[in-house]
Each structure stands twice: as structure tokens, then as C-alpha cells.
């Protein structure tokens, strides 16, 4: 039988879509859309895109593509904000005059003890009631009524050069003192410029109250001049936010904001106040206890859970305390020290927890995590019990979650129930305030020798200290920090930007007390260093406050030098200048075949620039000059910037590559030193 020889037509198939890595697709679409210039700033989460851009454009044209490092917040929209505020004033003053919100005073006027005042005065009164001494903020059209009242108020006002700077200053003021920071900005661009600062405070649980102006209530939603949906934009980056649309709510909203910001797990709270609310007559009801039905605090901790945790600690052969910023927030550092010493348990801290435990003690394991101490990471991986106190198992701490602390039972003490069992399964959860829980636990703890465990830890500590090449005739960044530590006797308040210099600071500056190290841990905000240094100095004028910064971080907010000059703040900036976005460059070196896509910058002469601002400026490019330069900086009465030209391609070691297990550290055997 003949088989039909008719050619079989292949069934029509839809064309297979071309599969490419997402980064390539992004660049394809950009090119397809005719994009020829991109403004941007690289960072860990966008590195693949930068690599694709590099791969695509660089080889063909042979020139560096036109990718300018612009302000990451404003991108190409970046405007001279000082001028637009000045322009805005005229437009907005017009709308200030006629409008007063109808307010039926007869209805509420009978309440005993209720006083009526213009909203702007009510805000000031409420700030004074909350014992606010310092406010950071920037003017603008719709906050003019408030600023008019602030003019006569006994509150110190600090004007930054950009709202982001102001927000970081208020944040650092709060971190340095434990009191809430207060920041004010106008509507629209003023409010959007706060975004990075609010997110920074949110991730690190910093008590902050932000007051923003808003356009008149009748204009909201009309795309009015300088209108933005501030509460919409800031919802996920604040602990709570609210817009005041009724004059009767203003006073109580401000009281509630301070209550929410400072209690429980602290965080930023934003109140958006339309300009007509500032002008309307608003009641100030008598002060009473704040009751928010949706906001319950449980600081005590469940006694049975506390006992279970204590028994687990007593029974453990190889326990480790893993301590985060929550211990600083709850004021539990002393209690923690006593607890750890009573129970005889070694302590490692997160970046945010530094200063809770005296790092000179033998049972201190220093920092753990991606760039933490090898001995801290090894201890966690070998532990049979891990007691987390006020920390949240972030990915930079845990490495690969599947292999994290594989043999350990996990106790988690945290005030925020949502933090418990979010990333790792917790065996014994204790919801409560770190100080109260530790105090309740203390009587049940027994002192156990654990000789073998401490011998093992001592051996790891001896074998794998933080180290660097001290022989080479270049300025090693670690050397600058070690020398600074020596000359300041480890007593200065240290602020940092984000990147390599931040990690070296955590590794080589040994902290003694809580609130001594101010750094953006959760969000990793470059540019945090200088404004936070200013905020901390304002909080502690009698203390030595130093910003250890990287050149790229410093570039982002260095305009705040003029704030330091204006308020005569003798802050110090130690610039670890390697001419790169160092941490990004390190990742490109290690994971992207040394293709340094967009990670080097052309820097100004920072010392000269500092002098132009009215600061003192020094440049150091020889190792031998380092001690004298630091000495000179510490003696300087003006704000002072010292530009250390360090080894350009120095890396932060050791390192757990992203996604690897905590004990799989690279760089432990890099230095074969005598």
C-alpha cells in the first residue's frame, strides 16, 4: 500500500517569542523607544541593567555613553529648588488671603477647656506640648502660615539645603537622642523630596514626625500648583500617615502622630496639612490619654514564653545572642550586657545593633552577616540555640535562609509580631519589648561554663580577625578608620554613608555605647552621612561627631556643608575617596568580570570645594600624612572635610556572596601575613 506522498504541511505554529534576559529586554525597549540618554545611578539591584547598557552601547561607539550621574531622586527633573520655592511664594500667597474654612464653633465651643486658635498656631502649640526643641525643614508656599507662627516660637529651626537632607537630619537627631525628630516640608516637590528620608527612617524604625503642607482642600485632586498625593506616595514608607481635612481633628492628630511615632516599634508618621487647615480656627481639646482602637501595645511579653526561652538558654551548649537595633530603641543595652554575662552567652550584633555590646569583651562576636566577622558567622552556623533580640533576620544578615543556623533552635524576642516567623521559622517566639522581656528572663537564667564553646570561639577569633594589608605603601581605607578610632579613643559619634566605607567603619571602629553609630542599615541610603552628621551634632553639640563617608555617597548630599557652616557646627568629614562607587565596583569586579559599568565618577577637589563652602579642607594622599591630618581635623573649629585618597580597588573582606550560606565566606585567606 502506497503511503501518500503528499507533502504534509507543517501545522501553523505561533512564532516562538525570543527569550532574553530581562536586563537585555529593558535595554531593547529603551532603544526601541528612541532613548539616547539615560540619567541614573547604579546599585546592587540595578547592576544587571547597567551591565546590559555597558555591553550594548560601550563596545559599538567606543565612547562612554552619555549617562550622567544625576540626583537619584529628581533624575532629569532636578530643579533648583530654592528658586522654585521663591517663585511659589507669590502664587501661593494669593490663595492664602480669602479662604477660611467654615467652622461651626457654637457646636464644639461649649466643651470645657477647649480653646480655639488658627491651625498654624495649634500646630506650634502641639509641638511645644510634645516638648519639641528642634525642627528641621524647608519653606514653601503652603506652609507659610505655619512658618509665620514658628517665627515667634521657642523652637530651634534648622534649614537644610534640600528636604531630603532635612529629613535625614531629623532622623539622626532621633537616633542620637531617642527623642522624635521633626521635619517640615511644603506640598508637592517638598513632600516628594522627603520620600527617601522617610523610607530610611521606616526601615530602621526611627521615630520621626513629618509635617507637610498641602494645597487647599477644595483644590485637592485638581492637579493644583505644587500638588502631590503625599499620603498616597508615602503610605508604604511611613508607620502611619494621615491628611487633616477637618479643623476639629488637627490638634488630636498631631498628638496621635507623636504617640504612634515614638511607641511600640517606632517609625515615621506623616501628617499632611492643607493650607486652609492652617488658617482655620481649630480647637485644642484638653490633653488626655491617647486611645487608638487599632493600636495595641504588648511590651511585657508572655511569661510562659519567657520561661521557655530561659530554659532553652540554660539547656544550650552552644548558644549565641544575635542582637539588633531593637535593643537600642528599647534602651536595653545595659540589661542585655547583664543578661549575656549572667547566662554566659556570646553576643553578635547586626549593623543596627552596634554599640549595644562592648566590643572589647571576649564574648563579643562583633558584627555578623555579609561583611561581618567570620567568627560571628561561624558561631551562628554552629550554634544549637540562636536568641534573636530586636533583630529581624534580614537577608544581609542571614545569607541563604535554607542553610542559616542549621542546627539551632531559634528564640525570637521582638516587639513587632509581624517580624516573627517572617523570614525564618521561630521555635520560641516572645512578643515584647527587649528590656522588659530580658528583665523578666534574667532571674531564671543560670550561669553555665560552656568552656568548649568559648574555646572554639576564641580559636575562630584568633584565626580570622578583620584584617588588611598593612605593608603596601598606599593609604588603606581601613588604616584611616583604625587611626581615627585610636585618636578619638573610640568615643566619637560616627555617622556614615552607604557602601564600602560603611562596612569598614563597622569592622574597624569599635563601638562602646548605644546611639554612637548612626548609619542607614535597612534602606542603605547613600548620601545619609553628611546630613545625619549635622543632625547628630545638633543633638549633641558637646560631643565629637564624625561623618565617615565615601566619595560617591558624599557627592549626593554635600550641599548640606553650607548648613553646617550656617549653624557653625564643627562636624568632621572623613572622606574615604577611591573615585569609585566602591561597593558596586567590588561586585562588578567579583561577579561581572571587572566590567566597571558606570561605577566611576569624576570628583571635584573636595578640599577646595569645602573651603568654598566656608569649611576647612585637607587632601591626604600619603600614608605617612594620615595621623597628622586626623589630628589637625580634630583640632579644627570650623566644619572640616579631609579627603583621603585611598587604595582605589581595595575590597571589603570577608564577604558572603549574595545567596550563599553564612559560613561560605570569601576572602578569609587573602592575606598571608607574617
Amino acid at each position: 500500500m502506497a503511503i501518500s506522498s503528499l507533502p504534509q504541511e507543517a501545522p501553523a505554529q505561533p512564532p516562538t517569542p525570543l527569550l532574553k534576559p530581562g536586563r537585555e529586554v529593558i535595554v531593547d525597549i529603551l532603544i526601541e523607544q528612541g532613548v539616547d540618554t539615560i540619567f541614573g545611578y547604579t546599585g546592587a539591584a540595578v547592576m544587571p541593567i547597567f551591565d546590559a547598557i555597558y555591553r550594548r552601547i560601550f563596545p559599538h561607539t567606543g565612547t562612554v555613553p552619555n549617562i550622567g550621574p544625576a540626583c537619584p531622586n529628581c533624575s532629569s527633573q532636578c530643579r533648583n529648588y530654592g528658586n522654585c520655592a521663591a517663585n511659589g511664594i507669590d502664587k501661593e500667597t494669593r490663595c492664602l488671603t480669602p479662604l477660611f474654612v467654615e467652622n461651626d464653633m457654637s457646636k464644639n465651643g461649649n466643651d470645657a477647656g477647649t480653646v480655639y486658635k488658627p491651625g498654624s498656631q495649634v500646630i506650634v502649640d502641639m509641638l511645644l506640648e510634645q516638648k519639641v526643641e528642634t525642627i528641621f525643614g524647608y519653606l514653601g508656599g503652603v506652609v507659610l502660615p505655619l512658618f509665620d507662627k514658628l517665627y515667634d516660637a521657642p523652637i530651634r529651626f534648622i534649614i537644610p539645603r534640600h528636604e531630603q537632607g532635612g529629613c535625614h537630619m531629623a532622623d539622626a537627631y532621633a537616633r542620637a537622642t531617642g527623642k522624635p525628630g521633626v521635619v517640615i516640608a511644603t506640598s508637592g516637590p517638598g513632600a516628594t523630596n522627603l520620600v527617601t528620608g522617610l523610607a530610611t527612617a521606616m526601615m530602621d524604625s526611627v521615630p520621626l514626625v513629618a509635617l507637610t503642607g498641602q494645597v487647599r482642600t477644595d483644590l485637592i485632586g485638581n492637579d493644583a500648583f505644587q500638588e502631590a498625593d503625599t499620603t498616597g506616595i508615602t503610605r508604604p514608607i511611613t508607620k502611619h500617615n494621615v491628611i487633616v481635612k477637618n479643623p476639629n481633628d488637627l490638634a488630636q492628630t498631631i498628638r496621635e502622630a507623636f504617640h504612634i511615632a515614638t511607641t511600640g516599634r517606632p517609625g515615621p508618621v506623616l501628617i499632611d496639612i492643607p493650607v486652609d487647615m492652617q488658617l482655620a480656627q481649630c480647637p485644642i481639646p484638653p490633653k488626655k490619654d491617647i486611645e487608638l482602637p487599632g493600636y495595641k501595645l504588648r511590651p511585657q511579653g508572655h511569661s510562659r514564653q519567657i520561661s521557655m526561652a530561659a530554659q532553652a538558654i540554660n539547656a544550650a551548649q552552644k548558644p549565641v545572642f544575635y542582637v539588633g537595633g531593637g535593643v537600642i530603641i528599647s534602651g536595653a543595652a545595659e540589661t542585655l550586657r547583664a543578661t549575656a554575662q549572667k547566662a554566659n552567652v556570646p553576643v553578635t550584633t547586626t549593623l543596627m545593633g552596634m554599640g549595644t555590646y562592648d566590643q572589647s569583651r571576649a564574648e563579643s562576636l562583633d558584627m555578623l552577616g555579609m561583611h561581618g566577622a567570620a567568627y560571628a558567622n561561624f558561631a551562628v552556623q554552629h550554634a544549637d540555640l540562636l536568641v534573636s533580640i530586636g533583630a529581624r533576620f534580614e537577608d544581609r544578615v542571614t545569607g541563604n535562609l535554607k542553610t542559616f543556623a542549621p542546627n539551632a533552635k531559634i528564640v525570637h524576642i521582638d516587639l513587632d509580631p509581624a517580624s516573627i516567623s517572617k523570614n525564618v521559622h521561630v521555635d520560641i517566639p516572645v512578643v515584647g519589648d527587649a528590656r522588659q522581656v530580658l528583665e523578666a528572663m534574667m532571674p531564671e537564667l543560670e550561669h553555665k561554663p560552656r568552656t568548649e564553646w568559648f574555646e572554639q570561639i576564641a580559636a575562630w577569633k584568633a584565626k580570622h580577625p578583620f584584617r588588611y594589608d598593612k605593608k603596601k605603601d598606599v593609604i588603606k581605607p581601613q588604616y584611616v578608620i583604625e587611626e581615627l578610632y585610636r585618636q578619638t579613643q573610640g568615643d566619637a559619634i560616627i555617622c556614615t554613608g552607604v557602601g564600602q566605607h560603611q562596612m569598614w567603619t563597622a569592622q574597624f571602629y569599635k563601638f562602646k555605647r548605644p546611639r554612637q553609630f548612626i548609619t542607614s542599615g535597612g534602606l542603605g541610603t547613600m548620601g545619609f552621612g553628611l546630613p545625619s552628621c549635622i543632625g547628630a551634632k545638633i543633638a549633641h553639640p558637646d560631643k565629637l561627631v564624625i561623618d565617615i563617608d565615601g566619595d560617591s555617597s558624599f557627592n549626593m548630599t554635600l550641599t548640606e556643608l553650607s548648613t553646617a557652616v550656617m549653624y557653625k557646627l564643627p562636624i568632621k568629614v572623613v572622606l574615604i575617596n577611591n573615585g569609585y562607587m566602591g561597593m558596586v565596583r567590588q561586585w562588578q569586579e567579583l561577579f561581572y568580570g571587572r566590567r566597571y559599568s558606570q561605577s566611576s565618577l569624576v570628583n571635584p577637589d573636595f578640599a577646595n570645594l569645602a573651603r568654598a563652602f566656608g569649611c576647612a579642607g585637607l587632601t591626604v594622599d600619603k600614608k605617612t600624612q594620615v595621623p597628622d591630618a586626623i589630628k589637625q581635623m580634630l583640632a579644627e573649629e570650623k566644619p572640616c572635610v579631609v579627603d583621603f585618597h585611598v587604595d582605589r580597588e581595595e575590597n571589603v573582606w570577608p564577604m558572603v556572596p549574595a545567596g550563599k550560606s553564612l559560613h561560605e565566606m570569601n576572602g578569609l585567606d587573602i592575606f598571608e601575613m607574617a
Binding site: T231, G232, R235, P236, K239, H240, V242, I243, K245, I260, L292, P293, G294, Y295, D416, P417, A418, I420, S421, K422, H425
Partner: protein
């Protein structure tokens, strides 16, 4: 697994945005969401259906409870609950098909709310499975349009079942 979360929230502007925003920001999926006032004018009730393993849903519950304007959150999983959806459905139905359509409507204990020469509009209330079954039963006739509320639910107080 499907969980029904019942959240009592403050009846204030922006609360829905807080809740919906949290779901989006934390990459949780909402299966359905029904919001309405309660007997207390200062409070609203949100019934949220979420699909996920117990760990995920527990995290959803905690994150919901963390929102300042959320007063109380209950997860009905493992509890004897009554849950109901409401649907309005318009079905293609020429006059000659009416008798069998009306029989179908009666079978499902549904209600005819509008009728025309070419269609019939029906109101169906009940547990989600019943709604799904009615949709399947109507599909052969041709569904012109369909609208559903999200699930609302309440835990049973007694142990007996009067109707399910």
C-alpha cells in the same frame, strides 16, 4: 489553601488604600475583597479572601493587624463559618428557552430580577461553590454579563447547621 480574613477597620478615608497598598507592597494576592459599614458607624468590616500556605497567610494577618487603622483581624480557617457571595448575571434567553431557564433558577433557589425578549437577569446568593455551579449551568445559554461581590463571612455561634 483559601483563608477568609475578617478585618474590623476604622471607617475613615484612606483606610482601604492602606490595606490594599499593604497587599501590593508585600506581594500578597487578594482573591476577593468586600467592604461595608457595620452597626457601629465608626467601624467598617473588610472580608478578604487570600490564597496561600499557612505561613504566608499568618504573615498577611499580622501585617494587616499592624496597620494603625485596622482594629481587629480574624482568620476563619478551621472555624465553622457561613460565607456568602452575591451575583447578578444576565443570561441570553429567548422566549422559547424561558421554561427551562426558570426551572434552573428555581433549582438554585435564585431570583429573577429582570427579563426581556432576549435575556433574563438573575440574582444568586450563596456559598462560592453554588455561584460557580450556577455560572457553569448558565454557560451553554450564553452569559451576557456578570457581576459578583466578594465573599462575606461570619463564624457560626452555635454548633447546629440550619442551612448550608
Amino acid at each position: 489553601m483559601k483563608h477568609i480574613l475578617s478585618a474590623l477597620v476604622l471607617n475613615k478615608p484612606g483606610v482601604l488604600a492602606h490595606v490594599a497598598g499593604m497587599f501590593a507592597a508585600r506581594a500578597f494576592n487578594i482573591d476577593s475583597l468586600a467592604v461595608g459599614p457595620t452597626d457601629d458607624p465608626s467601624l467598617s468590616r473588610m472580608t478578604i479572601v487570600v490564597v496561600g500556605d499557612d505561613r504566608v497567610v499568618e504573615q498577611v494577618r499580622k501585617q494587616l493587624a499592624k496597620i494603625i487603622s485596622v482594629v481587629k483581624v480574624q482568620d476563619f480557617v478551621g472555624q465553622d463559618t457561613v460565607s456568602r457571595d452575591l451575583m447578578l448575571i444576565s443570561i441570553a434567553c429567548p422566549p422559547e428557552k424561558r421554561p427551562e431557564m426558570l426551572a434552573l433558577i428555581e433549582m438554585f433557589n435564585a431570583k429573577t430580577v429582570d427579563i426581556g425578549p432576549k435575556f433574563v437577569m438573575v440574582e444568586v446568593a450563596g456559598p462560592e461553590s453554588k455561584i460557580e455551579a450556577f455560572i457553569e449551568a448558565c454557560r451553554p445559554y450564553g452569559i451576557k454579563s456578570l457581576v459578583r461581590t466578594g465573599t462575606v463571612a461570619m463564624a457560626r455561634q452555635s454548633h447546629g447547621k440550619i442551612e448550608e
